[in-house]
Symmetry: none
Subunit: 200 residues, 4 copies
Amino acid sequence: MPATARKPDASRRSERSRRAILDAALDQVGETGYEKLTIEGIAARAGVGKQTIYRWWPSKAAVLLDAFTAVSEDAAQGQHELPDTGDLEADLKEVLRATVDELNRDVYDRPARALAAAAVTDPALAEEFNRRVLGPQLDLYVERFTAARAAGHIADDVDVRVATDLLVGPLAHRWLLRTLPMDHAYADRVVELALRGIAA
Amino acid sequence: MPATARKPDASRRSERSRRAILDAALDQVGETGYEKLTIEGIAARAGVGKQTIYRWWPSKAAVLLDAFTAVSEDAAQGQHELPDTGDLEADLKEVLRATVDELNRDVYDRPARALAAAAVTDPALAEEFNRRVLGPQLDLYVERFTAARAAGHIADDVDVRVATDLLVGPLAHRWLLRTLPMDHAYADRVVELALRGIAA
Amino acid sequence: MPATARKPDASRRSERSRRAILDAALDQVGETGYEKLTIEGIAARAGVGKQTIYRWWPSKAAVLLDAFTAVSEDAAQGQHELPDTGDLEADLKEVLRATVDELNRDVYDRPARALAAAAVTDPALAEEFNRRVLGPQLDLYVERFTAARAAGHIADDVDVRVATDLLVGPLAHRWLLRTLPMDHAYADRVVELALRGIAA
Amino acid sequence: MPATARKPDASRRSERSRRAILDAALDQVGETGYEKLTIEGIAARAGVGKQTIYRWWPSKAAVLLDAFTAVSEDAAQGQHELPDTGDLEADLKEVLRATVDELNRDVYDRPARALAAAAVTDPALAEEFNRRVLGPQLDLYVERFTAARAAGHIADDVDVRVATDLLVGPLAHRWLLRTLPMDHAYADRVVELALRGIAA
DNA sequence: GCGTAAACGAGACGGTACGTCTAGTCTTGGG
DNA sequence: CCCAAGACTAGACGTACCGTCTCGTTTACGC
């Protein structure tokens, strides 16, 4: 029998500590950036022992992912699908403009950027990040495109997942690598061009 | 006048050391990844004093950028423009397929990913990265699209820079965040959809 | 109120590490001399992190002082006073000859010399060295001389502290600066001349 | 034939550089102490290349020895023998009081202390120091005692070299290890006791 | 209520790497 | 060929965090 890994008893977990750690991580990354985010720093700021972090999370990126997930869910509260007014272009422009605005706010940008950077070089984290944060968001586009296809607004042969990438990819690229500034006008241009490509 | 920073005399720089450092950095990142890339490790592998690295580069990301730039230039040697057979779709598919192949080779993927991750959280590095590596590559697409527009193959009102993003963004997104696997078929789908959007 | 210095919790200190560090320091200085005594070397030899040394000692001289104090106490174990056979000259010759022998053994000479050298240019260390090592030894002479004066063996007007210096100074001088070799005969001559000066 | 050691041509040596180096070493040690005396610092302060120091001196202690020798010779200018008024006690008190005064002046104390400390752990330097600085000074006492013995002022069986140590040792001991403050009164006491020991 | 076992705050521990400093050597260009 | 200047390899410095490991101290459940 292989050595059984020590598993802490989750039912006895201190909710107070969990929250304090998540908040501290978010605050710290927002103030000083990912480079200066340390486990010791989080523990000190949260008034928590280091072991309490190591007990429940495998890495500081995992802490940040949990912290960001909470924020992300707050931000998207109730919105479990994209708007569907029947006007696809208008709907997408609205959503993408909102996304641009969000990415331009420091409190959202800093932790998101930190997570993305970590995911770029850490496949395991990337998998988790996709499963819990990015995937659900992209699914919303897939659903909206599927509905639009059913309504005959976009071509039948279009792969809705690729269509999603066509929309999201350019924005993500500009955001992550800062090739050029990112604003509402850019979001509109992307929507227009992408839609021309997939329109019926 | 502010205190002038000590500037080393570049004319006395040891070319042998410079190359050894660049090679060591590339080898190290290829073998063990960015997390385990250390200045001490590079210095030891290159047979060089640490100070020689600190003298000429501000950070290990900067070393890697220099190292990668050399590789990148070797890879693109002579190819200062995209192919132009008159068939835009075929040309773009060829280029994007080649890009996909390149990004799937570890020797290229590892340092590129490391640099991208660093750039995501370091604006100064991002600026440099764009200026020296990414920018010139994107310019090739811009030129090709400009030629295609002049030839009447794509619509007059299309912003060639946005068109470039439409092509490159989806690929970069999948590569960086590993949302889904990236292969020739995906490259083809992206080209097809994007071209529909911008065709005349 | 000035910023209070972080004080480690002495009750949690690892006795094993403390001993290992002291032993390693003593061994190292005995083998390679003070010049090549490094904190890193001590830490490595003791199988200890550097921080554990920096946490408990302010300098490597302080480590050596602690290490030497232990040795010194072992050497003097039980001998909390000088012999008193009633024959002052014989007693002093015995003690000084023993001192000469001790100073000619490498295991004692090396660390003692290292400490003395450090004390010469570091007043704070000198103070500590005097308080903990040299002072108590000199006090033994002072006590013996005081007893001898009470017994009428030396003149009433003699300052016993100066008398001690008259005995110890010449030996220390020869030992530290190696002006001339130091042996039993020399010890005897010093005792004879010094005693003539202070005899009743 | 064994490899001949590189010997620089002393006839081409720059006197200007030699003086500048000696002055810089003395100034530096006087200002910041021996710990912070570095070859680089001396070179920079003297406006001299490091190699010029390494070419002519084997160690920084050797530089300091040369520098101090010059000062020492200036201080003792013309005084190639101790005063001899016929009153040995008075003569010695005068000389020792002067020595005490000198050792209490920083400009003399600092480099002398640095040299002594270096000599304590460096036998080669100690030999050189004794030959060039300390030896000649002690010889003056030996000569004075020899004269006194010839005049019948001290006992015939007294070893004048040991007598010298009896005088100088206590002072040196207090000075080097700072066991107790050193002043004129102390010098007088030492002379009185020592002389009683050696008087005819 | 009362043990008792696990989570907790705290922080010492063995380590690794940091970025800086100095040693001693080597190279270049000027006189 | 000495010299000023300073780049080079080498390696110690003292600091910051890592992840592990005790320490007592809560805390909450089963008896």
